[in-house]
């Protein structure tokens, strides 16, 4: 069974600084997708960034980028130039590329941004 582990329950970062959130996963699949979702206090989970396992290039979306290490099964999220609006729960999630597949989530990391 696939599992996703986020080892940092809470993190904090100063405004304008950079923070990295960790995520590791376990799977026997070779083709899959990884996601980071953000859940601000308003509760709706929003997709931040997505990585396809067969692509070696790390995904980037503006201030958000990932460090995808397939051999190590590691998928960390880097937030650059942190803003107050980045404060939220961040969930790492995994999905195999086969059929109507549900997401497997980690427990989440609560990120606080300090002004």
């Amino acid at each position: 069974a696939q599992t996703v582990t986020q080892s940092q329950p809470e993190m904090s970062v100063q405004e304008a600084e950079t923070v990295t959130l960790s995520c590791t996963y376990d799977t026997s699949e070779s083709d899959y997708y990884l996601f980071w979702y953000k859940q601000p206090p308003s509760r709706q989970m929003i997709l931040v960034i997505r990585q396809e396992a067969y692509k070696q290039q790390n995904a980037t979306e503006n201030r958000f980028s990932v460090n995808f290490q397939k051999a190590a099964k590691s998928f960390s999220l880097k937030i650059s130039d942190s803003q107050l609006g980045d404060a939220a729960m961040y969930f790492c999630a995994y999905s195999p590329n086969s059929g109507n597949t549900p997401l497997v989530f980690g427990k989440g990391t609560r990120l606080s941004v300090i002004a």
Partner: protein, 115 residues
């Protein structure tokens, strides 16, 4: 931007009572999901639904649970006889396709409290 909407935002129910949680997925989406998040724990998959039938369900989704798409727009989760351990946030999600690379769009969630 179209959103997944869930009602109610908070539901308080006596143990043993039936509860129905409602979701309106994004209109052109074909795949629908329910997840739940017990306080302090990870988001867990319950069930996925496509073409008017369940396509996958987890061990959590026992005979007390059922899903329905009664009118082509709503997607409901029914818990027949609620237990204290059913208290959780319940999230509905939808996606255009069921492939792993298709992002799932989440609603704000319904907080279910069982007394």
């Amino acid at each position: 931007e179209p959103e997944v909407t869930q009602t109610p935002s908070h539901q308080v129910t006596q143990m043993g009572q039936e509860v129905i949680l409602r979701c309106v997925p994004i209109s052109n989406h074909l795949y629908f999901y329910w997840y739940r998040q017990i306080l302090g724990q990870k988001v867990e998959f319950l069930v996925s639904f496509y073409n008017n039938e369940i396509s996958e369900k987890s061990e959590i989704f026992d005979d007390q649970f059922s899903v329905e798409r009664p009118d082509g727009s709503n997607f409901t989760l029914k818990i027949r006889s609620t237990k204290l351990e059913d208290s959780a946030m319940y999230f509905c999600a939808s996606s255009e396709e069921g492939l792993g690379n298709q992002p799932q769009h989440f609603g704000d969630g319904t907080r279910l409290s069982i007394l």
